[in-house]
């Protein structure tokens, strides 16, 4: 299974950096799950929880108040 490179960063500290199976983010018009090789996208995010599914089945969640998602070249960047 192909994995997705995910970077979540906050100004004062990097929150998450690594390969994941999928990530679910609170988009402006509802929840959105991003898998590997998703098409290039830029989207603002609203407050909610980012759910990260790792390769080994573990889950991790990060709560945010706002943010921006950018995805290109199988690399997703979320700025919160």
């Amino acid at each position: 299974m192909k994995l997705l490179n995910l970077t979540i960063s906050r100004v004062d500290l990097p929150v998450f950096d690594g390969e994941v199976a999928s990530v679910t983010v609170p988009g402006m018009s509802g929840e959105m799950t991003i898998l590997a090789n998703h098409t290039s996208i830029i989207s603002p995010l609203k407050g909610g929880t980012i759910l990260i599914k790792k390769e080994n089945g573990e889950d991790e969640s990060v709560s945010i108040t706002s943010g921006t998602l950018e995805m290109s070249d199988n690399h997703a960047t979320i700025l919160i």
Binding site: G27, I42, S66, T68, E70, S72
Partner: protein, 301 residues
């Protein structure tokens, strides 16, 4: 008596030396902390700017009122300085740059961050649209957001042609340069310039490469304008936050160097004063001895 005066001067110089030495030590610690903070923020700023530069290169580019060039109006300058002095030329270098801008004929209004900037605006009779003093070393994002909101709400009026920010960019402990960057209207070239600037000259963060990916056509969800509506305030806040961190790192580095120079100078001064003191003391002793011998000789004959 000269002897007593010199002795007092030595004591005074010693005390000053102790103070500057303590300030040097404090600044060294603060410098390390703020350098670290400035460096930690850099990857974030880089990726945020990356998103914007890619967005501007794709599809219809940046179509947003905040990205349009305005033909004329006032120049809003966000001036970032420190609150306290005794830090070498960090603040005066920024002030000199502002002097140049005003001399060039721009009609400038200042949003001051730091007490020295406020004092400058008052002294030079420049319109002050807002001031923020006593910004802590560990700048909180909340504080920065309020500054950014202020800038954005001011720029909504067509009175202003552009908004730029001037601050001390931290290159190394011994080198800081006053840097002027245009914040609004958003300009991809200026953003690229800023991205190149966000790279220390040396040290563990300097190797991180600065690649702007090839502009791909993005799916922009829900619309380009919607994205820019959230991204622009975020970016303005980031630019200000970044400028604040750089300015803090510069301030503490400059103060540490200035205090080190002061401590060295005080040591030098103590040395030369001690020599002067010993000479005066010896002269007094010699004079006394010769008086006594002269007296003995007079009695003996």
């Amino acid at each position: 008596m000269a002897l007593k005066q010199v002795k007092n001067k030595i004591i005074a110089t010693k005390k000053t030396g102790q103070v500057t030495k303590a300030m040097e030590a404090v600044s060294a610690v603060k410098m390390r902390k703020s350098q670290e903070r400035a460096f930690v923020g850099r990857p974030y700023v880089r990726s945020a700017l990356n998103i914007l530069s890619r967005l501007s290169a794709s599809q219809d580019g940046l179509s947003h009122p905040f990205a349009e060039v305005r033909p004329e109006g006032k120049h809003l300058l966000v001036m970032v300085t420190s609150d306290k002095g005794l830090a070498g030329s960090v603040n005066s270098a920024v002030q000199k740059r502002v002097d140049e801008i005003i001399a060039a004929g721009d009609s400038v209004e200042i949003l001051a961050i730091g007490r020295k900037a406020v004092e400058y605006a008052v002294r030079e009779n420049v319109t002050l649209v807002g001031d923020y003093i006593n910004v802590a070393d560990g700048v909180s994002l909340v504080e920065v957001t309020s500054m950014a909101d202020k800038v954005l709400s001011l720029y909504e009026s067509p009175k202003y042609q552009k908004v730029s920010i001037i601050y001390q960019n931290f290159l190394s402990t011994f080198e800081q340069v006053p840097t002027l960057r245009t914040v609004l209207p958003l300009n991809p070239d200026e953003i690229k310039l800023m991205m190149d600037g966000i790279k220390p000259k040396s040290g563990k963060w300097s190797e991180i490469e600065n690649s702007v990916g090839t502009p791909t056509d993005y799916l922009v969800e829900p619309s380009s304008e919607e994205v820019l509506n959230t991204l622009i305030p975020q970016l303005v806040a980031i630019i200000i936050y970044h400028a604040l961190l750089e300015s803090k790192a510069s301030e503490h580095s400059a103060r540490m160097v200035a205090m080190k120079n002061a401590t060295d100078k005080s040591k030098e001064l103590i040395k030369s004063l001690t020599i002067k003191y010993n000479k005066a003391r010896q002269a007094a002793i010699t004079a006394e001895v010769s008086e006594i011998t002269a007296g003995v000789e007079a009695m003996g004959s």
